[in-house]
């Protein structure tokens, strides 16, 4: 930026050293998965089958209070009979360090296809739910969540 590289390097190093000396935690940003990694992870689950938007409903707050704990509800309209039921619900994220979140395995004894849990979101992103029905079909829903860092980061 117009500064000779050596001076810029010095300032960056000095800043880092000062930060470390004052005891601040320098959090290294973890590697992030990408939407491509998520597509691969979904592919492992559905194989060559088509995934159609619909049937499953994913509920998340549009603005999370804290990315460490985001409440999630996922449900599928299904009679849940032995002939027609939800076999599994899979959850994925596109920008967490890894795409898989959880897999819930249900079946006719569930009575109702509805699961509530709490997830972690590393950053603002879209969460995807994929449900596998007893007839082998796959359906999906997505929900976008805004995630902000806490205002003050503290040493643990």
């Amino acid at each position: 930026m117009g500064m000779p590289p050596s001076r810029r390097e010095f300032l960056v190093a000095a800043g880092a050293a000062a930060a470390v000396a004052s005891g601040l935690v320098i959090s290294v940003r973890p590697a992030r998965a990408t939407p491509v990694a998520m597509r691969d992870a979904i592919g492992k689950v559905v194989g060559a089958a088509k995934v159609t938007p619909g049937r499953v409903k994913l509920e998340l707050p549009p603005l999370s209070e804290n990315g460490n704990t985001v409440p999630l509800t996922v449900s599928v309209e299904s009679p849940m009979t032995p002939a027609e039921h939800v076999k599994a619900i899979h959850l994925f994220t596109e920008l967490n360090p890894q795409p898989e979140v959880a897999t819930f395995r249900l079946g006719p004894r569930a009575g109702r296809a509805r699961v509530v849990t709490r997830i972690r979101l590393a950053t603002t992103q879209t969460v995807t739910a994929i449900t596998e029905l007893s007839d082998g079909s796959f359906w999906s829903d997505t929900a976008a969540v805004v995630v902000t860092l806490a205002a003050c980061l503290e040493d643990v």
Binding site: P30, E100, V101, A102, A110, R112, R114, V115, V116, I119
Partner: protein
Amino acid sequence: MAGALINAPERAKRGEIIEIKTLISHPMETGYRRNQSGVRVERDIVRLFVCSYNGTEVFRAELHPAIAANPFIVFSTIATESGALAFQWTGDNGFSVTESHAITVD
């Protein structure tokens, strides 16, 4: 350590769909964090939660690091007969917790 909190009805009618809420104490260390010295903290999570009803599995959850600390899972099952609901959480470093809940079905 008080490991788990289960909330399920003690009594239900045959065929009724009952909701079960579970909370287990566990840090769910993701394996992606670094400590003060910059060293990566190893993953330590609950990987599997299974609910069985009188010995038959009725619900299973496979968990990854993106499940929040102190995993909270709510699911339902049909009250088929009196007996016991068994809950088991297993995970890294030999983590294993089992709880059971008696239910009377009329």
